[in-house]
């Protein structure tokens, strides 16, 4: 199984632990990642002020994948959303496709329908499958309990993703965490947004949104929060200290990327899963498993 790995903006410079662990997990599960240095930003940041420009950026990336005859694996939820939406919109809307292709022609590229785009978690769930993952589990994580934050653009709009998970009551990542043996702990308002997209617009609102979720998550005793999107992770991990200071609260909640969790269960050397790059030290979790870095 082969995918062109789409890193986006944040992961290669601020989420290398996500990238490292995803690459290790892929190796263990025989997923071949192709690096495509020409892949740029997905187009999401430009969408709010100029939708057509964001379509053009997405279409350029999709044209590169089509030229190479590769499917795309994304790690970021927003990349998944923008690339999938552009793919569908440009496939359906001929007039728009011609307009975008006229622009792309100036740099010798052409959007062609048919490129498959999937989030890494969805690939693990749908294409590798729970049984194949279960067979490869080497370390049981049942000493750990975790809560999950899906992140909006992995699930919604549900029509965009052909309803592969239930957007009001999702279970794909629950299943992916549970297969490691770890207990999955539900919490209040699990589907609420992290606030990441408006961090630059009104920091107070965005941080309050993240705080509310951290409050709900830590109302239960969990070892970690599991995320599958770099920007959600920035809100809960990178900004955790800031939230603690601003609201005079204390969480000390480790935030792990899902492939870090699966990597531990698959028996990958923890040194290769990027735990040293986690800002809230996951030392207690690793100690419970008898792992030292």
């Amino acid at each position: 199984m082969r995918y062109a790995l789409f890193l986006g903006c944040t992961i290669p410079v601020r989420g290398q632990n996500y990238e490292l662990s995803a690459r290790e997990v892929a190796k263990k599960l025989d997923i071949d990642f192709l690096d495509v240095p020409e892949f740029s930003c997905c187009g999401f940041p430009v969408k709010s002020s100029n939708y057509e420009a964001s379509l053009l950026i997405a279409a350029r990336n999709l044209a590169i994948a089509a030229e190479k005859k590769e499917k795309i694996c994304t790690l970021c939820n927003a990349c998944t959303s923008v690339l999938t939406e552009a793919n569908k919109e440009l496939t359906k809307n001929k007039e728009l496709r011609e307009k975008i292709n006229k622009e792309l022609a100036t740099v010798d590229k052409e959007f062609k329908p048919g490129v498959e785009i999937k989030h890494f978690s969805r690939i693990l769930y749908e294409d590798i499958g729970m049984d194949a993952i279960r067979e490869k589990i080497k370390t049981d994580l049942s000493k750990l309990s975790m809560s999950i934050h899906y992140g909006c653009h992995y699930l919604r709009p549900s029509e965009l993703y052909d309803c592969f998970d239930d957007a009001e009551n999702p279970s794909t990542v629950e299943n992916l965490v549970a297969v490691t043996g770890a207990a999955v702990v539900d919490y209040k308002n699990k589907l609420d947004c992290c606030g990441g997209a408006i961090l630059g617009v009104e920091e107070d609102i965005a941080l309050s949104m993240a705080k509310q979720k951290l409050d709900h998550i830590t109302a239960n005793k969990v070892d970690a929060l599991v995320t599958i999107c770099p920007f959600c992770s920035i809100m809960y991990e990178d900004n955790q200290k800031k939230i603690e200071t601003k609201f005079n609260v204390n969480y000390n909640l480790p935030v792990l990327y899902y492939p870090q969790v699966l990597g531990l269960a698959l028996g990958v050397d923890p040194k290769q899963l990027g735990f040293r790059l986690n800002k809230v030290r996951p030392t207690a979790i690793l100690e419970k498993l008898g792992v030292t870095l």
Binding site: N50, A53, M209
Partner: protein
Amino acid sequence: MIDSKKLDPNFKYEVSAEIGGTNINRCFACGTCTAGCPVREIDEKYNPRKIIHMVLLGMRERVLKSDFIWLCSTCYTCYDRCPQDVQLTSIMTALKNIAAREGYIHPSFKEQNRLVSTFGRLYEVEDFDNKKREKLGLPPIQKTFEDLTKLMHDMLPKEVTK
């Protein structure tokens, strides 16, 4: 108070002509959007039902010049739950797009446009970043994208990037 002389009855048609804006006239003001909105839960100045109503009434200037249209976190909760398939998140994008064209772009998005047009990413990748990646055993990433910068230069008006 609403001054009816200042209303623009064509505003809703202007919005519905945008990509994603088509379904605005379907809204029957049930408030499902506002009830489930995670931004509204924190701050009442963002109220999706009210924004749609303002558009339908034709309050063009008030909407386009407002700060609140930039507060949609694009979580798509309202989009998924709307019984009339108004596709609110796309309408918010349409409103922000029109506002940007009229010169009211929020500075945060202007900066994001500048970064993406200049570097092809939200961040300027420096030698330091690639050295760190090398140490971690990760392949280097491209620092600039000439073709993308050209495309953005042709597509984005100067006022939204500088």
